[in-house]
Amino acid sequence: MRRRINWGVEVIPASFEYLRADSVDVAIAALTEHGDEAKLLAGGHSLLPLMKLRLAAPSVLVDVGRLDDLRYINDAGDHIAIGALTRHRDLEISTLLASAAPLLSHAAGHVGDPQVRHRGTLGGSLAHADPASDLPAVILAMGGTLVATGPNGSREIAASEFFTGFLESALAPDELLTEIRIPKLDAQGWSFQKFNRRAQDWAIVGVATVRANGSTGVALVNMGSTPLLATAVMDAVKSGATAADAAALANEGTEAQSDINASSEYREHLARVLVRRSLEESGLA
């Protein structure tokens, strides 16, 4: 008897209840009702792959992907306000971002591949809080602020307080990330370094740098359980260190993991090299 193989069976998600939210209020009500059992679905390009591998199995999926009122990029005076459902492709081609936050539009154009960028959202990427993702580090480097909306209204969370652990954020179970605010920086220079071995892979290590208003923000991709600010590098640059001297401090406070792509030692080496390139590309001698 021949063994029947149905390749599709192993890679579909476990069963769940699907709710499509047509407003922020409906989404929050669903989260309030279902608590930890529920997950929000935006573009789905972080969550669905995990669900297909059964690494995530929420019993309720609240689809916020149609909340088009949360898909915008606006000039809000002293900052740029970006709706959480704004897709990577929207960021990539935004003329406002190209002039006011070129680091973000450039990096958004390097997330995944075109198909991923057409569906994936900025809010989804941040809320997923994957240390290997590009945009969390970019928002950290730029000193962004995240707006979370829950049953009792909205609150602001600094990007530096948002990422609390591996795939964990400061969002409460009944909160929805609604807006991302980027300070309008008069950037003197910026750089995004992403090192990977194959097209469309996550960064083995990545570095986002922006120099503006006398300070330098440097954030690291995939150098610990969360996206990290390279505070030792930032302090050294502030005290007048050269790019080479500052980059030597790239691993302070990091806890790089070893995996199939790289050993932790190799990641630490890459971080030093990429931080130096990033500082130099952003104009530091």
Binding site: G8, I12, G44, K52, P114, Q115, H118, R119, A199, Q200
Partner: protein, 157 residues
């Protein structure tokens, strides 16, 4: 749950489980087997279709997410017996070997030229990074896309 998706210009309804992936709805419910399943992990791009005119991987979308939206598959590109220019350019430039990645490549390439009608060779290579060809036949795939771009920008001049 009941969904209605406009597929290749025609409204198609179906009763699906919430966890049904869009690619399974297209292939198993609608019989549109031109969209291939390759890796099932969002890597290879064989299942690339257009959602609201933009390329997307149909293995990484729920059918429910496409409810009410417009989807184009490889079956929707040709006009009767007349191939879409991108399909013809793949044929003329031998842009395929085994053909498994071809529907996804063609759909990704059409989306690429929509966004960048006059790409460089590098633009094409980077623009198709979401699609893998296990025959490694990339050279002629890139040639096909560049030929199609040259044809259409030449025609519009």
């Amino acid at each position: 749950m009941q969904i209605t998706v406009t597929v290749n210009g025609v409204e198609r309804s179906g009763d699906v489980e919430p966890r049904t992936l869009l690619v399974h709805f297209l292939r198993d419910e609608l019989g549109l087997t031109g969209t291939n399943i390759g890796c099932d992990t969002s890597s290879c791009g064989a299942c690339t279709i257009h959602v609201e005119g933009q390329s997307a991987k149909s293995c990484t979308m729920l059918a429910a997410q496409a409810d009410g939206l417009s989807v184009t598959t490889i079956e929707g590109l040709a006009d009767g017996d007349t191939l879409h220019p991108m399909q013809r350019c793949f044929q003329e430039n031998h842009g395929l070997q085994c053909g498994y990645c071809t529907p996804g490549m063609v759909m990704a390439a059409v989306s690429l030229l929509d966004e960048n009608p006059n790409p460089s060779e590098t633009d094409v290579r980077i623009g198709l990074e979401g699609n893998l060809c296990r025959c490694t036949g990339y050279h002629n795939i890139v040639k096909s896309v560049l030929a199609c771009a040259a044809e259409s920008t030449g025609a519009s001049k």
